[in-house]
Symmetry: C2
Subunit: 190 residues, 2 copies
């Protein structure tokens, strides 16, 4: 029987983030993280496939939320309405209590080119998932890819803004602002 | 005095593309390309810094054409109008006589992950350049980045379409179609 302490994964994650931020991602091993929580390396690997997964787990829930949002848009929705529904569904995953974690995570990723590359890959998976969801709602190409790329860009801009130290608005409110800007791109600047 | 044969660079490029396509990019050395044209490896390196440059030279002209297009848009232009002007300016670099080259180039790049990565980097440079040009025309953030990313996506879609074997329309005509689709993203699908 495997002993299962509730909260172990959260404790491992919180400690891993502290250590990544303080001494660097490369320099922090799974063994050191586990030890700092009073656990074995083996316990660490029961919760995370590797230390990078501390920063990138939950990806399938994340991607699915965008698809679910597209599916939930009303029948007469435009591609941009579907994108708005997708981004709001994804925003539902990022409640206020996750903002501190997201801030530290961003700093760790910005400091490490390999992690930044992985984050870019996540962005392209988001766009590909969005495009597939739009096509299944009857949006043809190239409109589906154009809307999906715009959606992934808008979410990235809003999410980065949400993690800024001087930003207090909820993610959904920032997304609404960015989507407004997207809708106004056909309006003259002056 | 260096002997300079007009057309040498074009002959090297044409032969390099044939060899890359026939026997693979990795397997083709600069020496083999030069030899196939009856020249020395040293002559090859007078024209190209390395063999990858055969596929990626002219990048600064390419990037500048987008910026020049943004600058040439009328005073009352919207961000999307500026993007349209940028994409049309870039399309001016790709006349019909370059389509055959572009087709072979695409096949070589699609077959080699490192080259595909480099091509992705070119796309992100295009978006960054477009965003800077838009900001200097008074477009604020995040609108500049949203429009620039849409523009880079639209150009990529149109350019890929232009290189398809069954596509005969000029690049500018394909771009106009893709930009129409971009402008209609706020229109209901059904």
């Amino acid at each position: 029987v495997v002993r299962w302490e509730p909260g172990t994964k959260d404790r491992l994650r919180a400690t891993a983030l502290e250590l990544f931020a303080a001494q660097g991602f490369e320099q922090t091993t799974a063994a050191v993280i586990a030890q700092a929580v009073g656990l074995t390396e083996r316990t660490f690997f029961r919760h995370f496939a590797d230390k990078r997964e501390v920063l990138f787990d939950g990806q399938s829930d994340y991607l699915q939320s965008f698809g679910a949002g597209v599916a939930a848009a009303p029948p007469d929705a435009s591609p941009l309405d579907m994108i708005a529904s997708a981004l709001n569904a994804a925003a539902g995953l990022f409640s206020e209590d996750r903002r501190g974690y997201a801030r530290i995570r961003r700093r760790i990723i910005d400091a490490n080119p390999a992690l930044a590359e992985r984050e870019l890959h996540k962005r392209s998976l988001t766009a590909a998932n969005l495009a597939a969801a739009l096509r299944s709602r009857g949006v043809s190409e190239p409109a589906a890819t154009l809307a999906a790329e715009s959606g992934a860009t808008a979410f990235g801009i809003a999410f980065t803004q949400w993690t800024r130290d001087d930003e207090a608005r909820p993610l959904a409110e920032i997304i609404a602002d960015v989507l407004d800007q997207l809708r106004q791109l056909a309006t003259p600047v002056h």
